[in-house]
Amino acid sequence: MWNFLYQLASPRTFYRWSGLWLPWIAASALLTLGLGVVWGLFWAPPDYQQGDAVRIIYIHVPSAFLSMALYAWMGFLAVLLLVWRIKLAGLLICIVAQVGCAMAFLALVTGSIWGKPMWGAWWVWDARLTSELILFFLYVAILVTGYAYQNKEQSDKIIAILTLVGLVDLPIIHYSVYWWNTLHQGATFSVFAKPKIHASMLYPLLFTLVGFLLYSLWVITLKARNEVLWRERRQQWVRALIEGEQQ
């Protein structure tokens, strides 16, 4: 197992294996996302208080969850880069940040659209909203830093350190609804506790959650494969691959 993971960290092996997984990840992402969205929009019941506005939950919660989960993954990759000097981890941090930034933006926008009919305001300086906004700015800072450097190995190390510093925001986002008296509701579901929503709403939510997760994996893999090819362009296998494609 460890041997396989160690081999997968080699750019060439990653490129070969990811090419095999990609169609399956893409098909699973489209299937689960499509099913979850249709279920959430048309089959799931409206909420007794919020009416049909509750249907925004099926995209808001997955995007908010992914914005945090992807950042946590970046933290793990930063450790892999700084401690074990795995090149692929450095390359992945910036790519995961691109998708994470989109997810954080989506969480903020869908939350704002949901907030207007429910709270009467597009935005409030609530602890959950503000800490999520800080996460979005962290993503932007990481991306800008990544693009600012010509030397990619140097930029990978700097954004890895920046990522580790920013990790402190994750527990603040998660516990903000418990630490402060917020307008934002508490967690909808937790891994260890019984879900607070009915199964008729929980299942479509789980489908969109898995769909968003697989979608993120899909686009991250797509982007990572491109970056691997460019960074490894001096290697013989890349030359052979490109020349083979042209013939």
Binding site: P46, A53, A102, V109, V219, L222, R225, L229, W230, R233
Partner: protein, 56 residues
């Protein structure tokens, strides 16, 4: 389209909010995917040029 579908699609009083949220989400997800596909084309083009220069 029958009446029940029209009723479902109207989303009560919150149709504009729900559909706006889904349209923006769909737009962002498609844009991220398109950027990945576009990057693939760009990288292949750059690699071809780079290999051509390197072989000269």
């Amino acid at each position: 389209m029958n009446a029940s579908w029209v009723e479902l699609a109207s989303m009560g009083a919150y149709g504009e909010y729900v559909w706006s949220a889904y349209a923006i989400a769909g737009g962002i997800l498609v844009c991220v995917w398109v950027s990945a596909r576009w990057q693939r084309i760009r990288v292949r083009r750059q690699l071809t040029q780079w290999l051509k220069r390197a072989s000269q």
